[in-house]
């Protein structure tokens, strides 16, 4: 009995400590393990990159090692930030404009069959022609400046919002539509009280799909037309043989695109829960 009691008295506090208050070291290992299990591919990518630059023995001008690129980004962050901010502003502006335009035209198409017949081919053309092919044409029309970058990100952001909002506007639950009919709702009331809120999840999906694309489209336009932004930074660094800077710009662009996607997905999840 005494041995049992002794061992029990010894065991209990240990168990309590283990469950209620994990030591800071264990907490750190646990969260580190979680991060590692989720994002080990990123680490593996950096390792592979390092190995590649070592094993091939290419000149640093061809393949700069990760340390050089990360060093340039972290050490000269001031060289990146203004261009990054500019590109993000262009992306955000185009994203908002494109999604607003897509939603508006989806509503117009919903309200009128004639407009629907007019708009759908135009939207399909905008979708089918690759952005790269559109950029020179748009640049010729709107000039080689920031406005054209904005136009291009708008064009890229337009289509998903147009299609996804449009399909939600036509897919309201039958019982709710019947209810609105019996309550004597006019078409505009149905749109305002039922269809537009019902379309919000579609708009959120469009947002998730478009946010990273808008950043890439802005960079592509900047790369091809010059001016300001990450794309131009990349183009100029390449032409001045600043390999670390060029790769750094690419790295920043990648990280920003992924961050945009993750953020947009979080917004979509929260919003979808709210609206369905």
């Amino acid at each position: 009995m005494s041995i049992d009691a002794l061992s029990a008295s010894r065991r209990v506090p240990v168990a309590q400590e283990g469950t209620a208050r994990p030591s800071p070291a264990r907490l750190l290992t646990r969260s580190l393990g979680r991060v590692l299990s989720r994002y080990w591919t990123v680490a593996a990518f950096v390792v592979a990159w390092q190995l590649w630059s070592w094993l091939t023995g290419y000149n640093q001008i061809v393949v700069p090692p990760p340390a050089m690129v990360f060093g340039d980004v972290l050490g000269n962050i001031g060289a990146y930030l203004p261009d990054l901010g500019w590109t993000l502003a262009m992306s955000a502006g185009g994203l908002v404009a494109g999604m607003a335009l897509g939603t508006m035209i989806a509503v117009v198409v919903w309200s009128s069959r004639i407009v629907s017949g007019m708009m759908t081919p135009v939207a399909l053309v905008m979708r089918s022609v690759p952005v790269v092919a559109m950029i020179p044409v748009l640049a010729r029309v709107f000039g080689y400046g920031w406005f054209t970058v904005l136009v291009i990100t708008t064009v890229v952001s337009f289509f998903p919002a147009f299609v996804l909002v449009g399909s939600r506007l036509r897919a309201a639950p039958q019982a709710t539509s019947d209810l609105m009919a019996v309550l004597g709702a006019s078409r505009s009331t149905v749109l305002r009280l039922l269809l537009l809120p019902h379309a919000v999840p579609g708009l959120l999906v469009a947002f998730r799909l478009t946010a990273p694309t808008a950043v890439l489209a802005a960079m592509l336009a900047e790369y091809l037309m010059g001016g300001r932004g990450l794309g131009t930074l990349f183009a100029q660094s390449v032409s001045f043989h600043e390999v670390g800077r060029a790769w750094g710009a690419a790295l920043v662009a990648t990280v920003v695109s992924v961050a945009c996607f993750v953020a947009a997905r979080a917004v979509e999840r929260r919003g979808t829960v709210r609206f369905s």
Partner: protein, 273 residues
């Protein structure tokens, strides 16, 4: 509120609240063929009366309700609600309706869902009435809950409160508890009996649940299978208010058994009537 029923339905004494006369309803199929859902159906409902339509599934009983709600047009015959076409009543926002699906707006709170008819009618939301209705259906304290956070029975309560929001002349209920489990359904039936006692609105209930029909209605209309016709009209004499004890009454069970028998095998009875 007393002047309410006078300003719309003038001949209140002679006209029934709902009248379906000689209704034929065909639904078109492919290649010009049509299926006849209702065949020469006649039905009149008096003011303040609670009528339940009972029938096997697919007999067109929901079509009767959709005709009265103005959601369908009859192929032949006329539908009058308060002496007018349903469309006129809808324009005046005088119809209340609840379906099997609750049809609540998922992004709106219980309070805002009940307030929806006010917003649709372009009237200022009567907050006191909305809260009183939520209390009437037993949802005091859940005003700010969203449909996702409510149980199936609670969602139907919100739907019924919403149907009552604008003090409608006519209440149309299409299997409002059809998606609920038996226990919740029975409780909701008793709740509806209590709510109806307080409101006394002309009500048309469509159901395939015989207990529900007998418990709630002044009159039960049994329909035949497709094409739907009135097979039998059963007056339910038990006095209101009907509580849970009614369901233990032998008279109640005799009535339920008789009506169930008609649903099981309608043809021989149809021959005699």
């Amino acid at each position: 509120m007393p002047a309410r029923s006078n300003d719309l339905a003038l001949p209140t004494d002679t006209e029934p609240a709902i009248a379906l006369r000689g209704i034929v309803k065909d639904f078109p199929l492919k290649r010009g063929a049509a299926v006849r859902a209702l065949d020469r159906l006649d039905l009149e409902i008096a003011h303040g009366e609670f009528v339940a339509i009972l029938g096997p599934s697919g007999c067109g009983k929901s079509t009767v309700l959709r005709l009265a709600a103005g959601l369908e047009q009859p192929t032949e015959g006329e539908v009058l609600v308060e002496g007018r076409s349903p469309a006129e009543l809808i324009r005046a926002h005088r119809l209340g309706v609840a379906f099997q699906e609750h049809a609540l707006l998922p992004w709106a709170t219980a309070r805002n869902n009940v307030a929806l008819p006010f917003r649709v009618a372009g009237r200022e939301v009567d907050r006191e009435r909305v809260d009183a209705l939520l209390e009437l259906v037993g949802l005091a304290g859940f005003e700010d809950a969203r449909p996702r956070q409510l149980s199936g029975g609670m969602r139907q309560r919100v739907a019924i409160a919403r149907a009552l929001a604008l003090e409608p002349d006519v209440l149309l209920l299409d299997e409002p508890f059809g998606a609920l489990d038996a226990v919740t359904r029975r409780r909701m039936n008793l709740e509806l009996a209590r709510i109806w006692m307080e409101q006394r609105i002309t009500t048309l209930l469509v159901t395939h649940d015989v207990d529900e029909a007998v418990l709630l209605a002044d009159r039960v209309v049994v329909m035949t299978g497709r094409p739907g016709r009135v097979l039998h009209v059963q007056q339910v004499e038990m006095p209101h208010p009907r509580g849970g004890e009614v369901t233990r009454d032998p008279e109640f069970h005799a009535l339920v058994d008789r009506l169930t028998g008609m649903l099981d095998d309608p043809e021989p009875v149809a021959a005699t009537s």
